[in-house]
Each structure stands twice: as structure tokens, then as C-alpha cells.
């Protein structure tokens, strides 16, 4: 009996091994595909975030591991480009990129939000992503020149006009569109040219970029809602209007 036992077990064991090898062979292509996915996933995890301006997130820490730093957002003051009620209980600070299509969508949403909510202040700050939008920083600098010369209302004429034109498919930025908007905002072209060419507002734009990344911004639009209690809520991307309205209502509840 004992002598015959190995002889009967051998084929069973071999068949099992062959069966498993066959299974692995059969799954080779699906596994290859998903392994490629793993490589991307690992790269993603260690990339530390997004397409963002250089020198942002100098720690290089994975985005997922970053703490909530939205409390570091610079205070909203009358020096900001603000639409709505500056003294309202709810403040939404948006870090935006003039050439980002999602920022254009969110711009429309925010225009509706401030029009329908008298206790909301919308502060527009800059977060141009040059890797994706090479002209975005220049447009941001131009918009701040308009604000510096023409004031808050002039800034919003420029910003609303720029986003409206981009949404309509305008491809020209600096050459034609900006001078048109500068004129529409009532800003004298000579003063604008001097401000723009001397880069007088570049530091302002850079300060916004630095604050955006310090608060955890990893792309645009990046916004922070500040509730009546001072509690901050991070908003990543272009939220639908209904979600923004509900978030405002939730912030009111936490007052």
C-alpha cells in the first residue's frame, strides 16, 4: 500500500500545478493591463499632486497625506477683488486661472451665487497654471493692473468679459482680447501698458499663488468657503451650483 501511494498522488499533484499554470496563462493579458494601471497608481501616489506652478508644494509630500491647511487662507479685505457683500457672513475665496475652462464654468456659478445670496462675498485670487496655460500669468497680471488703475468694478468687468469671451471660444488672449477688455473697463491704455510692461502686479499674483498652494490648492479652480464661525471648507474644482448653495446653507447652520 505504502509503495503504491506516491504513484497515485503524483498525477493529481501534477494536474493541479498544470491547472494553476493554465489559469495564470489565461489571465496574463488582464493582469498585464492592470499592472500597467498599478504603475500609474503608484506614480500618482508619490507624485504629490497636480499640474501646478513650480515651487508650489516644496515638501513634495503626497497630496493625500497633506493636512487641512485651509485656515491659512489670507483674510478677505477691501484690498481684494470682491463681488457681493464684503461684510457678509459667508466668504468664498476662489483661486482661479483665466485660461482654465473649469474656472470659466465656476465663474458663472459664482456670479449666480452672489446675485442670489446677499450674505456672500466672493474674493477672486490668482492661481495660473503655466504648464497648461502659458498666457494665464500674463492675463492675471493684466487683470491686477486693471484693478490697480480702475478699481474693483473695473477688475470685474475685465474678469467677467474675459471668461465670457473664453467660454464663447475666443482664442486670442493678450493681443486683442485684453486691450478690448481694458478699454471696456474704462482703464486708460497708457497707464495700463506702463503697469503691465513693468510687471507692477506680478508680486500680487505670486502672493496669491503662494497662498493657494499653502492652503492646499492642487489645481484650479481651488476655493475656500469661510463660514460665519470662521470654519473653512475646501472646494476642489468647479462644483455645481446646487452643491455650492447647499454648502453655503450648511455653513450657515454651523454659525
Amino acid at each position: 500500500m505504502e509503495d503504491s501511494q506516491p504513484a497515485t498522488q503524483q498525477p493529481v499533484g501534477a494536474a493541479a500545478v498544470q491547472s494553476e499554470n493554465s489559469l495564470i496563462k489565461d489571465l496574463l493579458i488582464p493582469i498585464s493591463i492592470v499592472l500597467a494601471g498599478i504603475a500609474i497608481g503608484v506614480g500618482l501616489y508619490f507624485s504629490g499632486g497636480p499640474a501646478q506652478p513650480q515651487a508650489v508644494n516644496p515638501s513634495g509630500a503626497p497630496a493625500a497625506a497633506q493636512a487641512d491647511n485651509t485656515g491659512l487662507v489670507n483674510e478677505v479685505t477691501d484690498q481684494d477683488n470682491v463681488k457681493g457683500n464684503l461684510n457678509g457672513d459667508i466668504k468664498i475665496v476662489e483661486f482661479s486661472d483665466f485660461d482654465c475652462v473649469f474656472c470659466a464654468r465656476f465663474h458663472d456659478t459664482m456670479n449666480e451665487i452672489v446675485a442670489e445670496n446677499t450674505d456672500v462675498a466672493w474674493a477672486y485670487r490668482h492661481f495660473p497654471i503655466e504648464q497648461l496655460h502659458p498666457q494665464a500669468t500674463a492675463v492675471a497680471v493684466a487683470s491686477e493692473c486693471v484693478a490697480k488703475i480702475g478699481g474693483n468694478d473695473a477688475f470685474w468687468i475685465f474678469a467677467d468679459g474675459y471668461f465670457a469671451a473664453k467660454s464663447a471660444g475666443a482664442q486670442v488672449a493678450l493681443d486683442v482680447l485684453v486691450p478690448e477688455l481694458v478699454a471696456a473697463a474704462g482703464v486708460e491704455s497708457g497707464a495700463f501698458a506702463s503697469c503691465f510692461e513693468n510687471g507692477e502686479t506680478l508680486a500680487q499674483v505670486q502672493e496669491d499663488v503662494d497662498n493657494a498652494t499653502a492652503t492646499g490648492g492642487r489645481g484650479t479652480p481651488w476655493s475656500i468657503l469661510i463660514g460665519p464661525s470662521g470654519k473653512t471648507y475646501p472646494i476642489n474644482g468647479a462644483l455645481p451650483k446646487q452643491a455650492v448653495e447647499q454648502l453655503i446653507e450648511l455653513a450657515r447652520q454651523e454659525a
Binding site: I38, G48, F106, L132, G219, T220, G237, P240
Partner: protein, 181 residues
Amino acid sequence: MIFEVLSKVFRQLRYSLIAVLIAFFTLSTAILQPNIGLLGAVFTSGEISWVSKYNFLIALYGSLATNFSVVSAVSTVLIAVLLGMNIALLVYYIRRRQIGGNNKAGNTASIAGIVAGTFGVGCAACGTVILSTMFAVFGGGGLLLLLPLHGAEFGVLGVILLSFSIYQLGKRINDPLVCAA
């Protein structure tokens, strides 16, 4: 052939359910992940009613329309559906082969299949998924500017890869069960 296999597998409630649940989970992850911090801030609050929290969560699903380009939204939905089908077919195939759920190859394929969903799923608005990966891996800030869809191509690639994977699995499932030679 492949449609017969799909019909045979997904007529069974168990596999349809697996596919639907995984597709829903994948889609939810893609839509909600960019605002996971916001969800955390809302859902950990003791002063907000659960009804309000639930309504906010539902409203956030609208991000698919506002936070994604048309190409990335379509590819994200397709990838979620295909990933669900892929894993359901894998489970069917492995069970039919009577290999236990602890089989190493099967487990690897299932887990990796989920990760494969990241291959193109993402919110282009935030620039958080594939874009950053490519920047990190290749260090080419201008690389994506060379692509006509600025990275959404990877979503299309993900759809193609998962479709191919399903096709291959369908072929295997359709093969007659025979003893290994």
C-alpha cells in the same frame, strides 16, 4: 461570441450585482475623491443634520457635469462600467475553473483591476490624476501641451485596455472546459 458570454454571465444576479457595485464605487470615487476633504468637513460636523449632509452628497454627484470635460466624463463612466464588468467576469471565470478565492493570480488580477480604473479616470478640472502622474514620471511640464486632449487620451486608452481585457476574458470563458494536457 462575446455578447453570448456577457449575456450568459450577467443573466445571473450575482455577477450583475458585482458589476453594478464596482461600477458605482469606481464612479463615486472618481467624482467625490477631489472633494474628499470637503466631505470630511461636512460629515464630521455635529451641527449639520444628516438630511442636509445626504442632500449635499447627492448634489456633489453633479460634479460629473461641471468638474469634468466631456471626454473625461464619458471615459470615466465607461471605465467604471467596464471595470465592473471586468471584475465580475474574472470572478465568474475563476469560480468556473473551481479555483478558490484565495488564488494568488486571481486576487492579483482583481485588486490590480481596481487600480486600473485610475488609468484615465479623473477630474480634469483639478489636474489631480493622470496629469500629475505624467509630470512626476516624465518630468515634462510641456508634455501634455503636445497632446490634443491634454491628457484625456489616457482615459480613452483605459477604455480600450479594459475593453480588450473583457474580450480576452470572454474568449477564455467561452473555451470548453478540458483537462490540461
